[in-house]
């Protein structure tokens, strides 16, 4: 069973603003990129025997989300995004040390023994006014959002 936590900042996201400015002002996407948002996505594999995954998701969020500055949305076994933007998920293709640390912390320090695996990625939400938004999103991912020697990306459909 997979628990997904979509996490985003309630305060202004300076990194998203910088990426948006770079794409619009420096890389020629001023006419097609109308907005850009960013979320962190935790994909947490847990035992199938968990009776109340929604409650578990809430307890996991208490550890992984800082609700003073972040909001989150939990889902089980699938993750859905709203319409109006192209979600581009970027993660590490090499070992993700932070995800390994999070798994160890959840299992060994915080007692979440039902957690089997943790993946961490970033979802860039691109609002695009181009003829083929998915193709443009792929181009943006390859030109800026990833370094192909350590990152992967996928358009989340």
């Amino acid at each position: 069973m997979l628990i997904y936590l979509r996490v985003w900042l309630k305060i202004p996201d300076a990194e998203a603003a910088t990426v948006k400015n770079t794409l619009r002002r420096r890389m020629g996407y001023g006419a097609v990129l109308s907005d850009l948002g960013k979320e962190r996505l935790w994909s947490i594999q847990v035992d199938d025997s968990v009776a109340d995954p929604v409650d578990l998701a809430r307890r996991l969020a208490r550890e992984l989300v800082n609700e003073n500055k972040e909001s989150y949305k939990a889902s089980v076994d699938s993750v859905d995004f709203e319409k109006g933007f192209v979600p581009v998920r970027v993660g590490l293709s090499i070992e993700d040390g932070e995800a390994v640390s999070a798994l160890n912390r959840l299992r060994n320090r915080l007692g979440f023994e039902v957690v089997r695996g943790v993946e961490r990625s970033v979802v860039w939400k691109l609002s695009l006014q181009s003829r083929n938004p998915e193709k443009t999103a792929e181009e943006i991912a390859e030109r800026l959002l990833i370094n192909p020697h350590k990152d992967f990306y996928e358009i989340v459909s």
Partner: protein
């Protein structure tokens, strides 16, 4: 000989880098990233110093690499002028494709992973003195122009993302064959080991610095400006000077090399 030390928002080593360059006999100034890029052509060489350009947003060096000043630097590099990228400067050169300079983004500087006895013992930011072995022949590279193959240089490093990785399995062979590997981490006797603490960040083949095929662009993770004067050396170092504040430290050779490269090439 006048050099420009490029300052991006978040760069934090520009002043000491300029002092180190001046101590080697270069003149120069700090060049803010948003000055007209064409003004760069008035300089004989360029240094991109360490720091956290754009707060390392997205990836270290990624945002700075898209600034117009980098296009201008690429033109100057194509003309043969020397460029040295230190730490974040190295990350910017990698993200801009100027290093290793094979036409695209050919490597990444990923998060440090310290491996000892086959196990990961630490990750992320690390700050320590390191020893580097010069791997290329003399005069191969602008920033190590005066160093012989096998020379040892001591300087400190401080970074979280200096672990050189590549998805191109043939790249390492090419870098070695073309003498583009300029520095490797080694112990104080000059022996290279694959594991921490000698290989301090898990970098592929213990690589600490590389150059482009032409040799005029060098990037390295350690900070030569932090060992340009012998008073900067750690207390136990026998070469540490306590009296002469201008006595050279090992890192000065990087800046003296750049100066000599400019003299010889007439940049």
């Amino acid at each position: 000989m006048k050099i420009a030390v490029i300052q991006f928002p978040g760069t934090n080593c520009e002043h000491e880098t300029l002092v180190a360059a001046r101590s080697a006999g270069l003149s120069g100034e700090i060049f803010r990233w948003n000055r007209p890029a064409e003004e760069l052509s008035g300089f004989d060489g360029y240094i991109i110093p360490g720091g956290f350009s754009y707060q390392d947003r997205l990836r270290a060096g990624a945002i700075a690499s898209k600034e117009p000043v980098m296009d201008a630097l690429r033109e100057e590099a194509d003309g043969g002028k020397p460029i040295i990228g230190i730490c974040n400067g190295f990350q910017i050169l990698v993200e801009s494709g100027l290093l290793p300079g094979l036409g695209g983004v050919d490597v990444a500087l990923a998060q440090n992973v310290m491996v000892s006895k086959g196990e990961i013992v630490r990750r992320g930011f690390y700050c320590a003195w390191t020893t580097l072995r010069h791997e290329a022949p003399r005069e191969r590279c602008s920033g190590s122009f005066l160093l012989e193959k096998g020379d040892i240089v001591r300087m400190p490093l401080a970074h979280a993302e200096g672990n050189l990785v590549t998805a191109d399995e043939k790249l390492m062979e090419r870098l070695n064959r073309e003498n583009q590997v300029i520095f490797r981490y080694c112990d104080q006797q000059g022996h290279v080991e694959e594991e921490f603490p000698v290989n301090i960040n898990g970098s592929r083949e213990s690589i600490a610095g590389i150059c482009n095929p032409e040799g005029n662009v060098l990037g390295l993770m350690p900070h030569p400006e932090r060992s340009s004067f012998s008073w900067q050396l750690p207390p136990a170092d026998p070469e540490k000077s306590v009296g002469d504040m201008n006595a050279p430290g090992p890192g000065r050779m990087i800046f003296e090399s750049m100066k000599r490269y400019i003299e010889v090439r007439g940049c």
